[in-house]
């Protein structure tokens, strides 16, 4: 029997493999990875410094251990070059690999900001453990880090680096950090709390150039400000990896398009995680991935199971001002804020007062579970 082949060994690929093995311990399973295929917690990358963890300590389980645990054939350091859906064959590392069912868990690429200057190639991006190890090596013994992007990952890194004693500057075109997730007053709390631990904000502007200097890098902003930095980390967003799927003729929009069974436009080819656009939604967070992995495992084991997305709160790990946000779906509505001493509870309600989403900041994050229970599902 040809194996089920999973391309990708991130949280999506490995969670699917684990869920599948609970239901089916016999079907041959092959996992292909472009990195060393060790299992690690990606959400920990942006708060490892303060918790005293090195990149090596985050890699909790080796590929060999994962292979033994999962009863899977894991091939590390291999690039999949092409998929031929007609013959159910992959070409990877120059060899042909046949599959019975194929799962694309390819992840996403950090978006690159076009920058001028001879230091532009020094700008780092972190979306996997190897890149994180390079970033840690680059900032070892250094003092100042510039972050491009004040979204979820940018804010988490800013908090982590500032707590670890770095001098941190954050640049974003938006007027507030987490501007796409939070209402104004809530975003302001995060901005002030991070400023209080030393983060310097450059908001409403963007980096124009990064150049090399004798002692490090110099960042120039569009508003004319310039400052020195030992390292520049870009965290302005993720773009689903779709090229392989597109070349194979699969339907691609923002992500690899799937239906609620996580099936792509090709028979027996599925996608999940950051590379997928499930029923029109591209959600690069842990909870949607877990829901998708559980549903897909059942489908692959023989019981077609559409994915259900309940209300899925996203935790922003900024200990200086913790945030939980359950982004409202794209329905008309407005934020209703309840300000309190230690935080803010913001409810996004429709015109009839029905809760569609919420954002909790500071002490109000304690009400995460209570609000999640009453928030509507994204895909019911």
């Amino acid at each position: 029997m040809e194996p089920v082949v999973i391309v990708g060994s991130g949280l999506a690929g490995y969670t699917l493999a684990r869920e599948l093995r609970k239901l089916d311990s016999v079907t041959p399973l092959t996992i292909l990875s472009r990195d060393d295929a060790s299992f690690y917690s990606k959400p920990m990358l942006s708060n490892a410094l303060a918790s005293g963890k090195s990149a090596a300590q985050i890699a909790s389980v080796s590929a060999q251990q994962m292979a033994a645990q999962l009863g899977a054939n894991i091939i590390a350091d291999i690039e999949v070059e092409a998929i031929d859906t007609a013959s159910r064959t992959l070409r990877a590392g120059g060899a042909a690999i046949r599959y019975s069912k194929l799962v694309l868990a390819l992840g996403a690429d950090p978006i690159e900001l076009p920058l001028e200057g001879d230091g532009a190639s020094e700008v780092m991006r972190v979306n996997d453990l190897a890149a994180y190890a390079r970033f840690r090596a680059a900032i070892e013994g250094k003092k100042t880090v510039a972050l491009l992007g004040a979204g979820l990952i940018g804010c988490e890194f800013a908090n982590d680096l500032a707590t670890a004693g770095y001098s941190v500057r954050v640049v974003d075109l938006a007027p507030r950090p987490l501007g796409r997730l939070l209402p104004e007053a809530a975003a302001q709390r995060v901005q002030l709390a991070l400023a209080a631990i030393g983060v310097v904000w450059h908001l409403g502007t963007t980096a124009r150039a990064v150049s090399r200097t004798a002692s490090g890098l110099r960042v120039e902003l569009a508003d004319g400000t310039a400052f020195a930095a030992d390292a520049v980390l870009s965290a302005i967003g993720l773009r689903p990896r779709t090229q392989l799927a597109q070349c194979a003729g699969l339907k691609v929009q923002r992500g690899i398009v799937t239906d609620r069974l996580l099936q792509t436009s090709a028979t027996d080819v599925y996608a999940l995680g950051d590379c997928a656009e499930v029923d029109g939604q591209s959600l690069p967070y842990v909870l949607p991935l877990m829901q998708a992995a559980r549903a897909l495992a059942k489908t692959l084991a023989g019981t077609a199971t559409p994915v259900v997305y309940p209300a899925m709160p996203v935790v922003v790990k900024t200990p200086a001002m913790p945030v939980v946000v359950c982004p409202p779906p794209a329905f008309p509505g407005s934020w209703k804020l309840q300000q309190e001493a230690g935080g803010i509870e913001a409810r996004f309600e429709d015109q009839n007062g029905k809760l569609l989403g919420f954002a909790l900041v500071g002490a109000a994050t304690a009400r995460k579970q209570a609000l999640t229970k009453v928030a509507p599902p994204l895909i019911g």
Partner: protein, 56 residues
Amino acid sequence: MKTWQCVVCGFIYDEAKGMPEDGIKAGTRWEDIPADWSCPDCGVAKADFEMVEMAA
């Protein structure tokens, strides 16, 4: 009292604090948390949830 961290998402469970909002009283030890409990941040079930004990 110990502190535990979810290997998948980094969620920290502090036995001393418990999770009162989730019905888990302060002082509840990890082994006393029901088997059907799942990580509030990533949804991994307790059974899969290889909690690692953090250094004190």
